[in-house]
């Protein structure tokens, strides 16, 4: 009898202790997210909000911001054929990088993931090296490698008899954008490789063992097991690559600065030029930035929906 009573009050005490602990945990949680929240408010949220505000004022960056123009710049943007040229270039750039980089990264990851391969670390480091360099250096080096006169790339192609005369990879209005996109693919492939490797490694070994027991050969394992299991990670990588590609700026700025003419001008470069070159038009640049941001958002949503539907179908 007394024991039963003890248990009851014990339970009460345990319960209240648990409750106190839970509340304590929640309080600590708020403390833990505090630094990040403050930084986020100050350095992410506030500037983003301000950029919307800026887009509705005519302001050159100096002095008081007092000339409210509402949505005038968005209207101007629609008929600005230079902006649309940049828009088109950004998408072309993104498509080129995604199409060339992702399959290559996946393939490489599959090869590097096979357990019997030695020297894995060496290869990983090698292919990751370009990621670690600054774009300025890459640009300076590539300008000479892809140059028309005595450029290494042209020399090599001519030696292999693939072309007769040197091709102006970076100074032709037709080729420049794609050349820079390929260079960008080269530079960032290492990161995508690592992401894919991580994804592959997260596939538990039991799955492979089960497949082997079932008598599946390597190709079947690859096609029916590995690829489907890596789709979710692949989708995220795709999303990140799309957004990165649309934001092409560093390499383009240093290599051709949007040239020749505006053949390689991407949206971020256009915005930068409008905001910083000559007398800035901060409002117009903001409007362009916001419009582009919304486009990217729409693209991401679309991608997300496609991936979800594909997953739903293929998940069986």
């Amino acid at each position: 009898m007394s024991r039963a009573v003890n248990t009851a009050s014990q339970t009460d005490r345990t319960y209240s202790r648990l409750l106190k602990r839970e509340t304590q945990k929640k309080l600590w949680a708020y403390v833990f997210i505090l630094p990040q929240t403050i930084m986020f408010m100050a350095f992410v949220a506030y500037p983003i909000v301000m950029s919307y505000v800026y887009s509705m004022y005519e302001w050159n960056g100096i002095g008081p911001r007092e000339n409210f123009v509402g949505l005038k710049y968005y209207g101007e943007l629609m008929s600005d054929h230079i902006f649309w040229n940049a828009y088109k270039n950004s998408f072309l750039f993104m498509l080129t990088t995604v199409v060339t980089q992702l399959p290559a990264a996946l393939l490489l990851a599959l090869v590097l993931n096979s357990p019997k391969l030695r020297l894995k670390v060496l290869y990983r480091t090698t292919y990751f090296l370009p990621v670690v360099t600054s774009s300025a250096v890459v640009a300076a080096v590539m300008r000479y490698i892809f140059g028309q006169r005595n450029g290494v790339f042209n020399e090599a192609l001519m030696m292999l008899n693939l072309i007769e005369k040197p091709v102006p990879w970076l100074s032709s209005m037709d080729y420049a954008l794609f050349t820079i996109a390929l260079i960008s693919s080269w530079k960032w492939l290492g990161i995508k490789l690592v992401y894919f490797l991580a994804g592959l490694q997260s596939i538990p070994n039991e799955v492979y063992e089960a497949a082997m027991i079932d008598g599946a050969n390597r190709r079947q394992t690859l096609w029916y097991i590995t690829i489907p299991l890596i789709m979710p990670v692949g989708a995220v990588i795709l999303m990140l690559s799309v957004v990165d590609g649309l934001h092409a700026f560093d390499l383009v700025k240093v290599m051709t600065d949007g040239g020749p003419g505006i053949a390689t001008q991407t949206v971020d470069l256009y915005i930068y030029t409008t905001a910083f070159a000559g007398i800035p038009s901060i409002g117009y640049a903001s409007a362009a930035g916001i419009f582009f941001g919304l486009s990217i958002f729409a693209v991401s949503l679309l991608l997300g929906w496609i991936v979800k539907t594909a997953n739903a179908k293929g998940g069986k």
Binding site: Q24, K25, W28, Y30, F32, I33, P35, Q36, T37, M39, F40, A42, F43, V44, Y46, I48, M50, S51, V111, K116, V121, Y123, R124, T125, Y127, F128, L129, P130, V131, V132, T133, S134, S135, A136, V137, V138, A140, V141, Y144, I145, N150, G151, V152, E155, V194, L197, A198, Q201, S202, V233, V243, H247, I271, Y272, A275, A285, S286, F292, G293, F297
Partner: protein, 275 residues
């Protein structure tokens, strides 16, 4: 036998592509030993006519390299420390405590990935100025660290979420509070993620250009390497071999950090992916 051939040929291909892959760096290294005349001539020739150590000397002295180098180190180490600490704390709370507003918080910070930032540098500049930190190293550190650590928060969140609840429970039974559980148990198990964060943030901050430039305008002594490297390519000079020498020097720390930590890198992300 068959598999041996496959293996050998795989290696051969990997090595071939590897060489092509890092060719630009080999070229950069070889250029750093050439004279400007040879460099401008272009061509496939990788062996310089005569080794020009003077390029390295110029890089170190002319561009005030040693100062810039130190500044880069200070800035990068500080920023990495701040980012690791705040992301880890935040990720832990998000990953293990179901508090009110958690989902909202996650949603908001994830959605900011899609919005372009561009010249949001001006509001940030005004903010730093109001804090009285313009033209000082803490100001640059703050501006640089305040950016988007969304990736790391997500990594930490996923990682902590994936940790088994038993760990926490056994800690609680031992009488540990929230803090102790975190510092003694959870954090030590997060080495791969911490290493990943360190590595990635190190790379970004080391090569960061626009932010250090704007926030150290009036004090050239505070400039970092990337800002200083552009002093080689002014409007009236084109010391390209000096630039490649400087670039080779600048590459070293990043490479060292990478080689030291890269073992954790893949595992870190894999761990997060699993979770």
């Amino acid at each position: 036998m068959n598999s041996r051939i496959t293996r050998l040929s795989t290696h051969a291909l990997l090595i071939l592509f590897g060489i092509i892959w890092i060719f630009p760096f080999v070229w950069m290294l070889s250029s750093s030993f050439k004279s400007n005349r040879e460099y401008l001539g272009g061509g496939l020739d990788l062996i310089p006519d005569a080794i020009q150590w003077s390029n390295y000397k110029r890089a170190w002295e002319v561009a005030n390299f040693s100062t810039y180098f130190n500044n880069s180190i200070v800035l990068t180490v500080a920023v990495v420390a701040i980012v690791v600490v705040t992301s880890a704390l935040c990720g832990y709370a998000l990953g293990r405590v179901n508090f009110k507003g958690r989902t909202l918080f996650l949603f908001i910070i994830t959605s900011t990935i899609f919005i372009p930032k561009g010249y949001t540098i001006i509001p940030i500049y005004m903010l730093i100025k109001q804090l009285g930190l313009l033209n000082s190293m803490p100001g640059v550190i703050l501006a640089e660290a305040g950016g988007a650590q969304i990736l790391f928060i997500l990594l930490f969140t996923a990682h902590f979420k994936g940790m088994p609840g038993e760990l926490e429970e056994s800690a609680e039974i031992d009488g540990a509070g929230f803090l102790r559980t975190f510092f003694r148990i959870m954090l030590p198990l997060s080495t791969p993620i911490i290493a990943t964060t360190i590595l990635m943030q190190f790379m970004w901050t080391w090569n960061s250009f626009l932010t250090p430039l704007i926030f150290t305008l009036n004090t050239p002594d505070l400039r970092t390497l990337s800002v200083g490297m552009f002093s080689f390519i002014g409007q009236y000079q084109s010391d390209y071999t000096g630039l490649t020498a400087a670039a080779s020097i600048a590459l070293l720390p990043v490479m060292i950090v990478f080689i030291a930590l890269q073992r954790y890198f893949v595992e870190g992300i894999a761990g997060a992916v699993k979770g």
